[in-house]
């Protein structure tokens, strides 16, 4: 079996962007240091030179606006934030400039660029090192927001972004996925990676998920298939600003039951958006109320015991699938044990 970790895919994608697009430039705080953004930019400065791969001052605002001026002049900027939270310092550029540049000038300009933002999780990352801000940016017309959930998705999405896309992309990468190993056997690049993808077929319940919750949903689905004969269909929403609503509705036509599992907060977020899509398109497809799985609607606490209550996991998804499949809360299906989950996931060890 050929496997690849998310981290390896990112490293390959960054090198690929610089090789396949001679105008690509990769920059951000720590891009050239010995850790190389968790190993995803190591060696690039040496191979492509300090003009195309460089470290930056702590100037998120200026370095985001920098991408605008560079992109207007034929450069393909890849700007990396080692924590998504730091990107908040650049909201003016993201919302007031990047999202509007094409529209505001009547289509005279395009801004092909990529911003990578890493979502931290666990080992006490706390309130300001862990935020999943995908909904915040997806709300603004003009930005394309993706959450690659697998190694293949990283490869497809970033290659397309760096070589074909003519629009600004913000990508949220979940730190929990970095060491996750994906089976690459038989996978082919998706022709248009900027949409949703069906990652598992099933007849009983549809799970629409983002980012790390896709892996949790697939693991939960496999577990329930083996232990309880329940077959969940899993849709990786992936491109939040271009959700494949046809794919979602076709799945609901089959299952009539929906779990939305997002790595962010539920109110006004991906859970709310997917529920809105169903409610405004064809609510009659639902045989039961939608179950939302999301972080607790609070800042992220640091203490591990509290953090365990803050984040959902594959057990949360499995429980939701069973509740919908069996039609009751006390479904009686045994959920994955702590040992079972430990075998699947390499526990993240901090502090970085």
């Amino acid at each position: 079996m050929k496997t690849m970790t998310y981290r390896e895919a990112l490293a390959q994608a960054m090198r690929g962007a610089l090789e396949k697009n001679p105008s690509a430039v990769v920059y951000g705080l720590g891009v050239t240091d010995f850790t190389g953004i968790f190993g995803t930019t190591l060696g690039l400065e040496k191979d492509f030179g300090p003009g195309r791969v460089f470290d930056t001052p702590l100037s998120e605002d200026a370095m985001t606006g920098f991408a605008v001026g560079a992109a207007l002049n034929g450069i393909y900027p890849v700007h990396i934030h080692i924590r998504a939270d730091f990107m908040l310092l650049a909201m003016n550029q993201l919302v007031n400039s990047i999202a509007k540049y094409k529209y505001m000038y009547g289509g005279l300009f395009e801004l092909p660029l990529l911003i990578r933002a890493v979502i931290g999780r666990s080992w006490g990352q706390g309130a300001q090192h862990s935020q999943s801000l995908q909904a915040l940016l997806s709300h603004v017309p003009g930005l394309t927001v993706v959450m690659p959930a697998s190694a293949q998705s990283v490869l497809d999405t970033y290659e397309y972004a760096a070589t074909k896309a003519r629009f600004p992309v913000v990508s949220f990468e979940h730190r929990s996925l970095y060491d996750y190993s994906f089976n690459m056997d038989g996978l082919k690049p998706q022709p248009d990676p900027f949409t949703s993808r069906l990652v598992r077929e099933g007849r009983d319940v549809t799970v629409a998920a983002t980012s790390v919750m896709v892996a949790d949903a697939v693991n939960a689905a496999k577990f329930l298939s083996e232990r309880a004969g329940i077959e969940a269909e899993v849709i990786d929403l992936h491109c939040l600003t271009r959700l494949d609503s046809k794919m979602l509705l076709a799945s609901l036509r089959k299952t009539g039951r929906l779990v939305v599992a997002d790595a962010g907060w539920a109110p006004f977020g991906v859970c709310a958006e997917v529920s809105r899509l169903v409610a405004t398109s064809d609510p009659g497809l639902l045989k039961a109320p939608i179950i939302e799985i999301a972080q607790a609607h609070s800042p992220c606490p640091t203490a591990k015991t509290l953090e365990n209550h803050f984040y959902p996991d594959m057990g949360t998804v499995a429980d939701a699938i069973c509740r919908l499949a069996k039609g009751r809360k006390d479904h009686g299906v045994e959920l994955p044990s702590a040992e079972y989950k430990k075998r699947l996931y390499k526990e993240f060890k901090g502090p970085f």
Binding site: F66, L72, N73, N92, Q93, N96, G107, F167
Partner: protein, 307 residues
Amino acid sequence: MKTSYEEMFRQALRIRLAEEKIAEIYPSDKIQSPVHLSIGQEPHTAALIAALADTDQLYTTYRSHAAYLAKGGDMPRMFAELYGKAAGVSKGKAGSMHLCWPETGLMGSSAIVAATLSHALGAAYAFQLRGRSEIVVSLTGDDSTEEGVFHECLNFAALKKLPLLFVIENNGLAIHSHLATRQAFSLEKLAGAYGIPYTLSKDGLDMPAVAGAAGRIAARVRAGGGPEVYEIRAYRYMQHVGVAQDFDKGYRDRAEYEAWRARDPLATDKTLIAKFKSELDREIAAAVDFAERSPFPSCDEVLKDVC
């Protein structure tokens, strides 16, 4: 300096007459967009841009009519843009505050003070990386130097020795707030902290002085000397936004205005005004006529070019 005084004068007068025409039309509500007139500040803008190469890029603010016209932007399409017409520069989606004319290097104007400083930074990096001989000019007001991003941009420009000229047009006002209530620093010393050379022109109405200084600074930046800061003192004759004067509001003294205007060549040089006025009036009338006759954009334009 390749542009003659008369040419600069003509350009500055052209901008003033165009803006006076905007003020004349404004009460009709045909222009439904906030306009920030540059009347009083056109001489330095015309002189600055006369000292640049046509291929140099410019990034500026919402007070953009002067820079647009001086940088070579098409006048009929500007009026059509103000009118919200399909033939406008940006099909009416930009209005007065976001004029651009990429063909001659005006790459954007932002309504967010200081937002374009970093765009100029990225453009200058692209020029340097590509080994191009053009320079990038950032034209913003004194208020932009108070934003944190100004520091970020000075730092990075100095760090990479970018071909970037920060022009600060200092009219002493941010809307109605005076410089003294806003700034505890000296721009010269701030630039000096980054090792960035600073030049001051105390009189933006003195076009030969501005063009001369701008030409010398631009030549140094073009030769690879790194970024520079160039401050030009000027005076805003009109209210912050809109087409009236506001000396009756009590936040500034009419005598200041009288003093500037007494030296303003666009008000005092009757000979040159007489030489160019009728020709420019005809150009402006034709531009207004073009805007009047142009159709409004079709409603499907609302959802075009979003991403």
